[in-house]
């Protein structure tokens, strides 16, 4: 097969290159977008179609120890949603936590070609890399959980900021991660060590000699900034899910000052109201802050009605939800590094809190002025499966559909939000931003999210349809690195995808600082901890900023 392709006559949405719906040829050669190709190139007529860069999911949970626990946990969820194989492609199981193969293929069927697993313990990195290797089609990377790392916190307590920074870099290199992830910073120790308690305030110190969540957040923002990672610390704030938590969220953003920070699934952190009582919406307060602070990016973590799986490194949160779901519950403590909780869950339209969460997510989308910094996500599978993205896109693009859905949700809840009055409809260009260009920029992936020469030829071609849910649900063509994966709505080839990771430089002597702690408190040998290059399969190191 010719390695070059020319796609003609399609309406192109390429916001990074300021192309907004122009009819334009797209040329592919050797996996990259090029200015032009020869006449022998394969030609695809995309008349009546919409061309976008492949989607980029900035925050999802698709691989690694906790994901696999959640998979094993729910045969009942897989059973009704099998994913058949073909002689070329592997079979799998669907549901809210699909098997690795189903995950890759299903992302492809939505036109997504890159996805970032958002929470991996360092000790689970090897496992995550194995799973990502078995996740086909998409390029992928992961964020390593360091916000409750006991050793790093000790360095902070002792004020050893420089070593802290090098240790972070060492950990990222040792795990092949893409950036750092903080989850409920400071909350693990009270959870594991103080009878399942938690921190409830960003300035709270569980013990007098401890450090506060704010100090941890601040240190990470500073260190990652100095290391020049392409993506800033990815922060899951304290107090997720609790009424009144928007104050914690605002304080977290203020802690960043004017340095970059990414706030994960911010919907779950935008609740007003009194602790212990029903929440109300603080979307306006949160959106206002984001609108005024270009250093902040976030993904929404939209809640979609139906089945979900709560899986989080925020173990106290999962424990709280266990009390609501009253079903099976998984807690998994990882030595010196993290906690984890898993609860099968279901969001129901008629339930006040669920309807409110749904509405707050949409409020945030519609109140945010800069689409480049408000990324589409459902915190898959916490707010719902990524398979809901097409419906979410329709909710954003079609206000009459939104009103219809709104009328079915708990009225007491939605009426406490601004949503009934918000008429804004996202344009295709804006959708291309929040699903592709925006996340690629936030991640610092210069070759993703656009269709300019030099970009990875990750391309999605949709039939231009009035019903955006149908349109975004079944792209006619999907190219991954120039390879046609889906052609005429059907899989035509398998593809492995690449691991995206970073490799910041660090002072090698930091190893000697980590080693004694490790030898005392870990249960594996230090020399067996770092992941070697054999786990990388096809990979790309994304350069740090200098």
């Amino acid at each position: 097969m010719s390695t070059s392709t020319r796609i003609l006559n399609g309406k192109v949405y390429d916001p990074i290159n300021k192309v907004d719906g122009e009819i334009k040829d797209i040329c592919i050669k050797d996996g990259k977008i090029v200015e032009s190709v020869g006449d022998d190139a394969t030609r695809i007529d995309a008349a009546g179609m919409v061309i976008m860069p492949g989607g980029v999911d900035i925050h999802c949970h698709i691989a690694g120890p906790k994901v696999n626990l959640a998979r094993k946990l729910q045969p009942e969820d897989h059973r009704h949603d099998p994913h058949p194989g073909t002689p070329f492609t592997r079979s799998g199981s669907g549901g809210t936590v699909p098997s690795t193969f189903a995950t890759g293929y299903r992302y492809a069927t939505l036109g997504y070609t890159t996805a970032m697993e958002a929470a991996v313990t360092p000790i689970g990195a090897r496992h995550t890399l194995e799973e990502l290797h078995d996740t086909p089609v998409i390029d992928k990377g992961f964020y390593v959980l360091l916000g409750n790392n006991i050793f790093l916190q000790q360095l902070l307590k002792e004020g050893r900021k420089e070593e802290f920074k090098h240790a972070i870099a060492w950990w990222i290199n040792s795990t092949k991660a893409f950036t750092t992830k903080l989850v409920n910073p400071g909350g693990d120790e009270p959870w594991k060590g103080k009878k399942n308690s938690n921190v409830s305030d960003i300035d709270e110190k569980p013990n007098s000699n401890d450090i506060s969540p704010r100090q941890i957040i601040e240190a990470f923002i500073e260190a990652v900034n100095e290391l020049g990672l392409p993506h800033p610390p990815h922060i899951h704030c304290n107090n997720l899910g609790h009424s009144g938590n928007y104050k914690t969220t605002l304080e977290t953003m203020r802690t960043a000052g004017d340095r970059r920070a990414h706030l994960a699934h911010i919907q779950f952190h935008s609740y007003a109201g009194e602790l212990g009582k029903n929440p109300t919406s603080a979307a306006r307060e949160i959106a206002d802050y984001i609108n005024k602070h270009p250093n902040i990016s976030c993904d929404v973590g939209q809640v979609m009605f139906g089945k979900s799986t709560i899986m989080t490194a925020d173990a106290p949160l999962a424990y709280m939800l266990r009390g609501i779901a009253k079903g099976k519950w998984v807690n998994a403590d990882t030595e010196c590094e993290s906690g984890c909780g898993i609860v099968p869950f279901s969001y129901q339209e008629h339930v006040y809190v669920h309807a409110l969460q749904w509405a707050i997510g949409l409020e945030l989308f519609l109140l945010s002025e800069d689409p480049w910094r408000i990324i589409l996500s459902t915190d898959h599978p916490n707010g719902g499966s990524f398979m809901n993205y097409p419906k979410l896109i329709k909710l954003l693009m079609d206000s009459s559909f939104r009103k219809e859905e709104l009328s079915r949700a708990n009225q007491k809840a939605v009426n406490k939000t601004l949503l009934p009055d918000l008429e804004r409809e996202y344009t295709l260009n804006e959708i291309a931003i929040i699903t592709r260009a925006g996340p690629a920029k936030c991640l610092g992936l210069n070759n993703k999210g656009h269709l300019g020469p030099g970009a990875d030829a990750d391309i999605t071609i949709y039939d231009d349809q009035a019903d955006k849910e149908i349109m975004f649900n079944a792209p006619r063509y999907v190219f991954k690195s120039g390879t046609p994966i889906i052609s005429n709505h059907e899989f035509c080839q398998d593809h492995d995808g690449r691991l995206l990771h970073v490799a910041p430089a660090y002072d090698e002597t930091i190893v000697d600082t980590v080693r004694p702690f490790f030898e005392d408190y870990y249960s594996i040998e230090f020399d067996n901890y770092a992941v070697d290059d054999s786990y990388l399969h096809d990979h790309e190191i994304i350069p740090v900023r200098n």
Binding site: L73, Q74, P75, E76, D77, R79, G327, K328
Partner: protein
């Protein structure tokens, strides 16, 4: 006239035939039925490869032969009547919502798991997990009736939420485990740990049964409602003696670990 299928070739490996179900055959001719797909292990074959089809379709099917390697018969059935003259394999009537299945012989494991309505009657014995939930699922049978005249093995009515299960003969361990509600009648000898983890619902046992430490004894009495059920069981062809019908029952409440709202009624004989 109804449709009659006769097994003419014994399957070498399990034969999955969920297509053999009243609702799925209505409106088809005999030769159309013969062409329907069934799975012999990992090979898709057609009904005719294993069955001789006679008659024309209405809402009843009868199937003859040793079907003990044939699985998923009557799965998701909603109406009509399926009669099986012989033994049948596992997953009979899985998830059915209505209609009636009658098995003249024995049935395999998973008789009518997660069934929602209708009735399944087994003249012979049944295997494990009668009317149960599939693994991982919080809810098993949520309606209908399963009537086993012979024995049944472990976990009958696992996580059952509604309906009636009657085991005429011996029953296995953990009958009614994690029951949410509904009624299970164990007319013969029972296994151990019946009702473990039950939230609500009723287990009736006619034999001496050991109780878990989380069940508490309440009283000996004659529950009027039970008589109505037992009379109904008599009508269904189960043997219920006058001593059982008019006798006294010990009431045990449990499982304390769960809601403590279930009961085991043990015949005082």
């Amino acid at each position: 006239m109804s449709i009659n299928l006769t097994l003419h070739t014994s399957p070498e490996v399990p034969l999955e035939a969920e297509v053999l179900c009243t609702d799925k055959l209505i409106g088809l001719t005999g030769s159309e039925i013969e062409k329907l797909p069934v799975e012999h292990g990992n090979r898709q074959v057609s009904v005719a490869d294993f069955f001789t089809v006679k008659g024309s379709p209405d809402d009843s099917i009868s199937i003859e032969g040793d079907l003990s390697k044939v699985k998923h018969l009557g799965a998701a059935m909603a109406s009509g009547k399926l009669t099986i003259s012989g033994n049948v394999g596992s997953h009979l009537g899985a998830g059915m919502t209505g209609g009636k299945i009658l098995v003249e012989g024995d049935a395999g494991d998973w008789v009518a798991p997660e069934m929602q309505g209708g009735s399944v009657e087994i003249k012979g014995n049944a295997g494990h997990l009668v009317g149960s939930a599939y693994r991982g699922s919080p809810i098993g049978m949520s309606g209908g009736e399963i009537l086993v005249h012979g024995d049944a093995k472990n976990e009958a009515g696992h996580a059952m939420r509604n309906g009636i299960i009657v085991i005429g003969g011996k029953s296995g361990d953990f009958a009614g485990v994690n029951m949410l509600a509904g009624s299970i009648f164990l007319l013969g000898e029972t296994g151990i740990r019946i009702g473990a983890g039950m939230k609500r619902g009723t287990l009736v046992t006619m034999s001496k049964t050991s109780m878990l430490p989380t069940f508490s004894y309440s009283c000996r009495y004659q529950p009027a409602y039970l008589r109505m059920y037992l009379i109904y069981l008599q009508e269904l062809g189960f043997s219920v003696s006058d001593e059982q019908l008019f006798g006294f029952y010990h009431r045990w409440c449990g499982d304390a670990i769960e809601m403590n709202r279930g009961e085991i009624l043990a015949h005082d004989f």
